[in-house]
C-alpha cells in the first residue's frame, strides 16, 4: 500500500553535530511500523521532523499528496496526523475529559465514554492527568488518540516505563488502529514486545535508516543483530535451530 507519510532523505545537525545525514521514514495505512535504533542515534529527531516539531536542515516530508519543506505540526494535525511525544501529552491544567472534549469538538471525533472505557480510564475522566499514574496517563493519551481518530499516529517511545498490563493495553490499541487502516509508527527499545506487535521494522543507525522488512526478516539481518539487538536477542526459533 502507498505510504501516507513519507520522510525523504532528511538531514539534521545540532550545534555542529550531525545527527541525521540522510534518513527516510514511511508510515503506511494498515501497518504498525517500528523504528529501532540506539539511544541518541536520532530516532526521536526523525520522528519530530516527521511530525513537524523539528525543522530538518534538508529533505522533505510528504503527507498524503502534499510535500512540505518545513512541515508545521498544526498543519499536519489538521490533515490527520497525531504525534504522541515521549513526554506527557495532556496538560495538568485541565481534566482528562475536558481535553478529550477539545479533541472531539476540534475534529468531530469519536465518543469519549467509549474511548475511555476501551483503555480502562472511564473512572478517571474527571481527574487531572497529574493525579494519575504513568500508566493511566498513557491510557488517557491513547483515549485522546481514539477520540481524535487520526489517519497517522507517530508515537515516540510509548512503552517506556509502562507496567506489563498497560503495555498490553497499548499494544492492543495500536494493533486495532492499524487494523482500522491507521498508519502507525512507533519507536522504542522494548524489543520482544515491539517485534511481536510490528508489521515492519526500520532501523536508524549512523545518521541513516534501513528498511528491514517484517520482524521475522529483520531479526535475521546481521548488522542489525550485531549492532542493535545483541547476541542475547536471537529469536527462540533460531536458537532451537542451532
Amino acid at each position: 500500500m502507498t505510504a501516507l507519510l513519507r520522510v525523504e532523505s532528511v538531514a539534521k545537525s545540532f550545534a555542529g553535530r550531525r545527527v541525521l545525514s540522510s534518513a527516510s521514514l514511511r508510515a503506511v495505512p494498515g501497518e504498525l511500523r517500528v523504528l529501532f535504533g540506539r539511544n541518541g542515534i536520532g530516532k526521536s529527531t526523525l520522528l519530530k521532523i516527521a511530525a513537524g516539531r523539528v525543522a530538518p536542515d534538508g529533505g522533505t516530508v510528504h503527507f498524503g499528496n502534499h510535500a512540505y519543506l518545513h512541515a508545521r505540526p498544526h498543519r499536519l494535525a489538521a490533515v490527520g496526523l497525531f504525534y504522541l511525544p515521549d513526554a506527557d501529552l495532556l496538560s495538568s491544567a485541565f481534566t482528562v475529559r475536558h481535553q478529550l472534549v477539545l479533541f472531539q469538538r476540534q475534529f468531530g471525533g469519536g465518543d469519549i465514554g467509549e474511548a475511555a472505557a476501551r483503555v480502562g480510564i472511564a473512572a478517571r475522566l474527571d481527574q487531572r492527568p497529574d493525579t494519575l499514574s504513568g500508566g493511566e496517563r498513557r491510557r488517557a493519551e491513547l483515549a485522546a488518540v481514539l477520540v481524535r481518530r487520526p489517519t497517522c499516529l507517530l508515537a515516540d517511545e510509548p512503552y517506556r516505563g509502562l507496567a506489563p498490563r498497560d503495555a498490553e493495553v497499548l499494544t492492543t490499541v495500536l494493533r486495532a488502529l492499524a487494523a482500522d487502516g491507521v498508519a502507525v509508527l512507533v519507536t522504542g527499545h522494548e524489543v520482544p514486545t515491539l517485534l511481536d506487535a510490528a508489521d515492519h521494522i526500520t532501523w536508524c543507525t549512523s545518521g541513516t535508516t534501513y528498511e528491514l522488512g517484517p520482524p521475522a526478516v529483520a531479526v535475521q539481518h546481521g548488522a542489525f543483530r550485531r549492532e542493535y539487538l545483541g547476541p542475547w536477542r536471537i529469536p527462540l526459533n533460531s536458537r532451537e535451530e542451532r
Partner: protein
Amino acid sequence: MLPNRTLVATYVTRHFRLWALLRVGLSGLFLLAGTDPLRVSPLTLGATVVFAAVVSLVELRRRRERDLLGNLGVGAVALAAMVMVPPLTGELLLRAVGTFRG
C-alpha cells in the same frame, strides 16, 4: 484550521485570569509610582499586554502544552491571538473605565 469555541474559551479564560492577576500586582506598582492604574499611557498599556502575553506563553511552556496544541491544530498565529487578545481586551476595558470616570 481555526480552534473550536471550547478550545478558545478554555485558553482565553486562563489567559484572562493570568492577566488579571498580573494587573493587580502592576496596579499596586502604578499607585506607588503615583500613576492612576486606570489611565496608563499607551506605551505602558502596550508593554503590559506584551508582558501578560509572555507570561501566558511561559505558562504554556511550563505545562508543556505545545504538543497538545499542535495536535489540536493550533498554529503560531492562533496561539498568538489567544495570548494577546485577553490582556488587550482587559487593558482596553480598564482604559474605557478610566476615561468614563474622568
